[in-house]
Symmetry: C2
Subunit: 147 residues, 2 copies
DNA sequence: TGCGCCATGTCAGGAGTCTGACATAGGCTG
DNA sequence: CAGCCTATGTCAGACTCCTGACATGGCGCA
């Protein structure tokens, strides 16, 4: 039958990459007026919703390494958007948003909410929830084990 | 009501990034025994299904720039996996897989097909098709225009 | 108490990708 | 036909992120 192993036109993986790429581009465009990168915004958003997270926990939540998160935090700290407790190495240091950080995060969140609503236009709440659940199921299936 | 603009636990964008990250990690693990990166595999797969594509067209299909695709193609060419016609600049040069490239692509495709089937385990064909259509709709909605 | 183990923060180096720029080929329009 | 515009291939530079490595703090267990 010469059935193709992977067909681009019906591959969910390819569609997933396409969607993630388009979303990232839209987010970059929306955040550009605020001088924020997607990684920086993700970090602020996560910190806003889970105050006191350590750098390593932030890194896992934003899908980058601790080393990368370090420079991201440094940049945000230099802009006065967040504060980190200084302490010896080897210890988890909680991080918090400053008032300026909270303010900027608010504007960024509104911009990103606009992007997400545009992405999901003409979808019912149930359809959106279903899509989100489908994606979450993909994650758990992939993380289960890799034979 | 203090409704949060963006809620991580219900954000489709966050779930999308999570899924794309998990998929990429699984693909890297599956391709590692073949000494192929995800970008290299994507390039080979696209070339296998659309023979004769130019470097610029490949770049768009794999979501990288022409400049990045150049070094990817150079590496694959050095390994004897594909051949490019040499000609003056400013002209679209078709690219083809060599027999060795076709052979390696076959093995890589099987590995990636395994990843995708694991990602979609316990899903009916209709559910898979629906998920793919949902993702495609997100792409078109995002690319429509950015106000 | 002491030891091993894991997690965190940090420093240095390298691989991959992107932005900017240039020359050339092809196509469209006047 | 000439001129303009777009697209392609390519070179150079910079940036981001990752891998590797190290020292330290917290925790469980003998």
């Amino acid at each position: 039958m010469a059935q193709r192993e992977v067909d681009l036109d019906s591959s969910v993986g390819y569609a997933l990459k396409q969607a993630a790429t388009a979303l990232r581009a839209a987010m970059e465009a929306a955040l550009e007026p605020l001088s924020l990168t997607v990684t920086q915004y993700s970090c602020l958003e996560l910190l806003g919703q889970r105050p006191g997270l350590s750098a390593a926990e932030l890194a896992r939540g934003v899908f980058v390494t601790r080393q990368s998160m370090q420079s991201v935090l440094q940049g945000l700290q230099d802009r006065g958007l967040l504060s980190r407790s200084t302490a010896p190495q080897g210890r988890a240091l909680p991080t918090q948003l400053t008032p300026a950080g909270t303010d900027l995060l608010g504007r960024a969140s509104r911009a990103i909410a606009g992007v997400e609503s545009r992405m999901l236009q003409d979808r019912s709440a149930a359809e959106v929830a279903r899509l989100r659940a489908d994606l979450a199921a993909c994650v758990t299936a992939l993380e289960g084990r890799q034979p």
